[in-house]
């Protein structure tokens, strides 16, 4: 096997090089960490996820999460632990509770209100605005006029 590698490397003309090692030994755990970290906040940063931040404290927190993953804790358990320790502030997806109900239902209420208002206004409007009907005959006439006008211009 090493042989084949060597030949490939020589043929491809690159230097005597090995494949770089992943930063961690356990890619599965790292993928889980990443999955969790994109929804967690770096507590000391202005506005960064734990996955993005390079602050030392974020590194500590990531290590903590790694340890919990190594201890075979499930994702909800890890999140529960973090929330009990740092509060809801650590979650970028705010949990649904009394104080955040408005936050979560607000957008859809807004849309519902908007659509209802739209339908009601249009209904009322169609009653108040007098209908000026344009017949097909008039449409044809307009098209004809337009065609003439464009030829002239």
């Amino acid at each position: 096997m090493k042989w084949v590698m060597l030949i490939i490397l020589c043929v491809s003309g690159s230097a005597w090089a090995g494949e770089a090692r992943p930063l961690t030994d356990d890619p599965v755990a790292e993928a889980r960490l990443k999955h969790l970290a994109v929804e967690l906040r770096c507590l000391v940063c202005q506005n960064q996820t734990l996955a993005d931040s390079s602050a030392p404290l974020a590194e500590d927190l990531r290590r903590e999460v790694r340890e919990m993953i190594a201890k075979n804790m499930s994702d909800p358990e890890i999140i529960e632990f973090l929330v009990s320790r740092y509060g809801d502030f650590v979650l970028y997806r705010p949990p649904l509770k009394a104080t955040t109900t408005l936050l979560w239902v607000g957008p859809f209420v807004l849309m519902a209100i908007g659509v209802t208002a739209l339908v009601m206004t249009l209904r009322r409007r169609s009653r108040t605005v007098a209908e000026v009907s344009v017949t097909d005959e008039e449409h044809r006439r307009v098209e004809q006029l337009l065609a003439e006008g464009e030829k002239r211009s």
Binding site: A15, A17, G18, L91, Y92, L103, G106, P107, G114, E131
Partner: protein, 663 residues
């Protein structure tokens, strides 16, 4: 001496702004043309004065005058000249000066291109802009003076935040502000119309090009900011739903709604009341954005409470502008006529529905941005509202909007019929659905979101193609080229802008679905592969920049044994603020970006390295630029050029409106 001249110019500008804000509006109310005539020269004088102040601040930066507090705080003698000049808008005081300067620039533009407006309208517009300007000048002169002296002078400046030392900083804020402040023109038009009580089709015709120009600038500005974050922050994202980003996105959503609603008011005379409200909303959101970003309320509610002078000023100003214009609106709007009638299922109806969705989306962004602030202020706990929240509320609101975007341009004005639309759209729908379902399978990764994204993008493109084909059948001309040329530019503009959205969606979808990343530890000479590309790390070198030192890595990138490119990511250290910056290296391409950023040195020349393969990411910004191009095409339309040239108010020619009805 020079800074004092700048300071004095600002004081004079305030006086002129007061005159400009009061006399012409009063003159228009009592019909005194002498008073109204003040507006134009006053606006031009104000522009020159603020330009002078701006020039003085620029001079202080260029001259490294560290006896000016603001200069000392945001620049350094080592900082290259172009960044010293960009440092003008590097912090609070200067940003406000830039804002005011751009406001007067827009005013100046209004004086140049308003020859065809009635005198009363023009003086009201300039008057309203003058009043807005009064607020900002007063703010600068009372609590946020960029010319404040530092005595004794500092020997050396504290430097511009290294994060801002980037070409993006030179161009992004001016673009963004051109957009933000540009909505003040639409706002002033709306207020002027409310004051005068004549919201006719001509009003919409006049404010349309202004609004579109502002919208184009804002689109480009946001895209530039996003691109900057992508390559400068070093972690490969392009939108973070950060409150500062949201502050620019909300006016964009309102502005997009406004552009569409103005189209209806212009062509059909409908939605007047709604259009006026949107114009007020778009500008109010621009002001709110400034308040959010500039008052420090975002960093912490408590920081705001401990130094409330500035925040309070903006808050009061905001209350006066928004409250005042809404009060005027409530008083005047009911007198405005309703315009032509239309059925719920018609182009008007769909545009209105789209408007509702855009405004609901804007409301959600507003809610998500302000909610944590309110909870914190009320002591109900600290929460974080981030990308997972915005993604899950924004997407469901935008999907129907984009679906309607395909149908709307094909629907008839006044009344459309479902069977007719279904007949015309069935091919577009079939093609979009089938290709959206199969394409991801062909590409080897099927997810519902991937298919949804592609469905929407292909839907926009196919419906646009149908619209164009039908349009071509209606215009005269013998050859195809002739017929293509006789399609009005405003129609092209719409098609291009909509296709920009499609391009944008493709970018977002493909990056989300297919990007790959790798965190590796690389020794000198080691390789790592991502996508079809192999990266070979050839070690780092020490490099000395004008005001930083850096370790610069060299990566040879190859594909199938052939070298593609060489990338040089850097890890910079800026000694003045002792900050470490990651400068990613990117090989951009139409179909993919390759992205390398250096992490930390490990040992013996080895580094932790992050590699990304990001398919189609440039389509995200490409899409935005195409949207802006669409806007530019629309305002180059024949009827606007005619309008500029003609010196009397433009009255919509009956045959023109009639043709639109048919089209």
């Amino acid at each position: 001496m020079i800074p004092e001249i700048g300071h004095f110019a600002l004081i004079l500008a305030l006086c002129v702004a007061l005159v400009q804000g009061i006399l012409p509006i009063y003159g228009a109310a009592v019909g005194n043309s002498g008073l109204m005539a003040v507006a134009k020269p006053a606006a031009r004088t104000q522009f020159l004065l603020v330009l002078t102040a701006f020039g003085c601040l620029a001079y202080a930066f260029a001259d490294k005058d560290f006896s000016v507090l603001y200069v000392a705080a945001t620049s350094n003698s080592q900082l290259p000249l172009h960044y010293r000049l960009a440092a003008i808008w590097g912090a609070h005081e200067g940003s406000l000066l830039l804002w005011t300067f751009i406001l007067t620039l827009w005013m100046f533009a209004v004086t140049l291109f308003s020859g065809h407006l009635p005198e009363t309208t023009r003086s009201r517009i300039l008057g309203v802009m003058g009043l807005v300007s009064v607020g900002f000048l007063l703010f600068m002169l009372t609590v946020s003076n960029p010319f404040e002296r530092l005595i004794p002078a500092a020997a050396e400046g504290r430097d511009l935040n290294p994060l801002l030392q980037d070409p993006g900083m030179v161009i992004h804020p001016p673009m963004l502000y051109m957009g933000y402040v540009g909505f003040s023109v639409a706002f002033a038009f709306a207020i002027a119309a409310l004051l005068g009580g004549n919201l006719d089709a001509a009003w919409a015709r006049w404010s349309r090009p202004w609004t579109t120009v502002a919208w184009c600038f804002l689109t480009v500005g946001i895209a530039l900011g996003s691109g900057w974050a992508y390559y400068e922050l070093g972690w490969g994202g392009w939108w973070f739903w950060d409150p500062v980003e949201n502050a620019s996105f909300m006016p964009w959503l309102a502005g997009t709604a406004l552009v569409h609603s103005l189209a209806v008011t212009d062509k059909r005379g409908g939605f007047k009341v709604w259009t006026v409200l949107l114009a007020i909303m778009a500008f109010s959101l621009s002001l709110l954005g400034t308040f959010l970003v500039r008052s420090g309320v975002l960093t912490s509610v408590h920081a705001f409470a401990t130094d409330p002078k500035r925040g309070l000023f903006i808050l009061v100003f905001l209350a006066i502008v928004i409250g005042g214009s809404l009060a005027l609106y409530a008083w005047r709007a009911p007198k405005v006529g309703l315009g032509g009638s239309f059925a719920m299922l018609s182009r008007e109806g769909m545009l209105l529905a789209n408007n509702v969705l855009l405004v609901a989306a804007m409301g959600s962004v507003l809610l998500g941005t302000l909610y944590p602030l309110f909870l914190d202020a009320l002591d109900l706990g600290k929460i974080s509202v981030g990308p997972p929240y915005f993604d899950s509320v924004f997407v469901p609101l935008m999907v129907p909007a984009i679906f309607l975007m395909g149908i709307g341009p094909l629907a008839q004005w006044k009344k459309a019929s479902v069977p007719d639309l279904a007949k015309r759209l069935k091919w577009a729908f079939g093609v979009s659905l089938v290709s959206a379902l199969t394409l991801p399978i062909v590409m080897g990764n099927w997810t519902p979101l991937l298919s949804l994204g592609l469905l929407l993008a292909i839907w926009i493109v196919t419906t646009s193609a149908i619209g164009l084909r039908e349009r071509l059948a209606h215009v005269n001309g013998n050859s195809l080229v002739e017929r293509l040329a006789s399609v009005p530019r405003s129609y092209w503009g719409m098609l291009v802008a909509h296709c920009g959205i499609a391009v944008f969606i493709v970018g977002v979808t493909m990056v989300k679905g297919f990007e790959t990343e790798k965190d590796v530890r690389m020794n000198v000479g080691e390789t790592a592969s991502i996508g079809d590309y192999t990266f070979r790390f050839d070690g780092t070198q020490d490099v000395v920049g004008p005001n930083y030192t850096a370790a610069r890595g060299t990566f040879h990138v190859s594909r199938d044994g052939r070298e593609t490119t060489v990338l040089y990511p850097e890890k910079r250290r800026y000694p003045v603020q002792n900050q470490i910056m990651t400068e990613a290296a990117i090989d951009p391409g139409l179909l993919r970006d390759l992205y390398v950023s250096l992490g930390e040195p490990i040992d013996d020349g080895a580094w932790s390295v992050r590699l990304y393969h990001k398919p189609f990411i440039d389509w995200i910004w490409g899409g935005c630029f195409i949207m802006a191009l669409g806007g530019a095409l629309a305002i180059s339309d024949r009827r606007y050029r005619l309008a500029w040239r003609r010196q009397e108010p433009v009255v919509p020619v009956p045959t023109r409106t009639a043709r639109r009805k048919v089209a």
